[in-house]
Symmetry: C2
Subunit: 134 residues, 2 copies
């Protein structure tokens, strides 16, 4: 991650704590506002090897400089409720500063390589893009 | 937000930057690992007033002390693609340290008050709980 991006992230993180006294203008300027959340369903849900390969692939995306934060995971062992969808196999959650940075990610060679080398593993993908409401 | 929680969050955020040299043990210990992502579909999608009331309601949840980060938003103006679901109206994304802290949130009076005062606004809710894979 380039030094400038890390500095920018730390600056943003300093503003992130809930209840902090930063003005809304500062938060608007510095906090990563765009969430990109992707859920993958494997072609072969019984294959732990396929899941692990996909998890490892998603983690290579962290080297794309416009990603401000990356969380990669699997269904949590929270309470089972009708509203909870725990049918997916891998989750990829990223924060970007804005829509333009997310487009850089979409077109980035590392992302294209990830798709080329892993898309045979998944059966379905659902994406949610969320812009912060301030 | 209690002082101790804010300090803990800042400490965690310091470890969050991608590519930082913190050991994996430190990251495991301090980074909020559990994502709770809720999508709401309004009963009346044409009502901006209902959407704004729901957005304001979700924002009251930030006062629950086990929430380490809260992102509240609406569909982003990213590129329209088949895999992107932009049919929801409000998104609520939270980070917790663990499943126990998320249970505290579920049962918290502020959360129960939010449900009681806003559930008449939504037609559908979908929840994804994700545990980080490290």
């Amino acid at each position: 991650m380039p030094r400038i991006s890390r500095r920018a992230f730390v600056a943003a993180a300093t503003l992130l704590p809930l209840g902090a006294s930063a003005s809304s203008m500062e938060i608007k300027k510095d906090k990563p506002k765009l969430v990109h959340h992707v859920f993958f369903w494997l072609k072969d849900p019984s294959s732990a090897a396929d899941r692990d390969k996909l998890l490892a692939g998603v983690k290579t995306l962290k080297n794309i400089e416009t990603i401000k934060m990356l969380h990669v995971g699997v269904p949590a062992s929270t309470e089972k409720r009708d509203v909870v969808d725990n049918s997916y196999h891998v989750s990829e959650l990223m924060f970007f500063d804005n829509v333009e940075d997310q487009k850089v990610y979409q077109d980035h060679p590392i992302h294209q390589k990830f798709i080329k080398e892993h898309s045979m593993l998944w059966d379905k993908v659902v994406v949610y893009d969320v812009m912060e409401s301030v």
